[in-house]
């Protein structure tokens, strides 16, 4: 499964901003909390993390050196 943005449920205030910027419809609100839907369309643009006012969305990167 591809890495998807991570939601810290306790920090989500249900504002829905992340959903408005997500171009792949990879996020929905369930019980007023953002939930990630795994989708191949997600290109990890990290816009959802950028607009989240409470820091509830994390798009972490692994940092590696190219082999060879």
């Amino acid at each position: 499964m591809a890495q998807m943005p991570e939601i810290i449920r306790e920090l989500c205030n249900g504002c829905g901003l992340c959903i408005t910027v997500c171009s792949c419809k990879g996020l929905v609100l369930i019980d007023n909390v953002a939930v990630v839907i795994e989708t191949v369309e997600c290109d990890y643009c990290t816009e959802c993390e950028a607009v989240c006012p409470t820091g509830a969305i994390r798009c972490p990167y692994e940092i590696v050196v190219e082999e060879g």
């Binding site: 890495q3 810290i8 993390e49 820091g55 972490p60 990167y61 590696v64 050196v65 190219e66």
Partner: protein
């Protein structure tokens, strides 16, 4: 829970101690676990215990009045934190939070005093560790004063890729990187794009691949 003597041996504070000394210290050690993002200590609180990371990674950070976070350092397995308030008796100088699930060993402040008194080698080790800490913060001040943001991002990527493995090297968000190098998230995003355009890195979805370390070192100002 049982405190692992083999792990105690790997802690820089306890280097060079014999088994009997480690056994004596072990009885002062307690274990604590924290979930991801949980606060462990808060800036301004009294320093009640010295902590060592057993597994996971802890971030030590300060927060501005506007809520901006500056990460002072990441604390990996074997490393300690909360040393300063325990040693000088003043309040915590920074907050600490778990970056993922974390297990810690702790020693109460009063017991730290007993250990230092009874085991002079530990005191000598503490001096060495704290000297290393001064080096780290000197380097941080240098970065904040003399390096531009692009250079700081390049240096962070180089240090990160070469330091530790697996759980010791947590994955970082652009916000984490911004908080580590004292800038805004947007600046990190721009810098990553600029480094990609230079051919120094490649961003494969959630992976930043360092493709040209020489170019990164040049950008970081380390080859001038």
């Amino acid at each position: 829970m049982s405190v692992d003597i083999e792990f105690l041996k790997t802690i820089p504070y306890f280097q060079g101690l014999g088994l009997a000394e480690l056994e004596a210290i072990k009885r002062f050690v307690f274990e604590k676990s924290f979930d991801a993002n949980e606060f462990i200590v808060e800036e301004g609180d009294p320093g009640e215990a010295l902590y060592f990371v057993v597994s996971g990674v802890v971030k030590a950070f300060k927060t501005s009045a506007e809520g901006k976070e500056q990460i002072l350092r990441l604390i990996r397995p074997g490393e300690s934190f909360n040393d300063v308030p325990v040693f000088d008796g003043e309040p915590n100088v920074a907050s600490a939070a778990a970056m993922g699930p974390v297990v810690l060993y702790g020693i109460r402040k009063s017991d730290v005093g007993i250990i230092l008194r009874d085991h002079p080698q530990v005191a000598a080790n503490v001096v060495k560790v704290l000297a290393g800490r001064v080096r780290h913060f000197t380097s941080l001040v240098e970065d904040l004063s003399f390096r531009n943001v692009l250079g700081r991002v390049a240096k962070l990527l180089l240090e990160y890729a070469e330091n530790g493995t697996g759980l010791e090297r947590p994955h970082l968000t652009q916000q984490d990187m911004a908080a580590m190098i004292g800038t805004a998230r947007e600046m990190v995003g721009r810098s990553l794009k600029a480094l990609e355009e230079k051919g120094a890195i490649r961003i494969d979805r959630h992976r930043i691949v360092l493709t040209d370390k020489k170019a990164l070192r040049e950008t970081a100002g380390e080859l001038l």
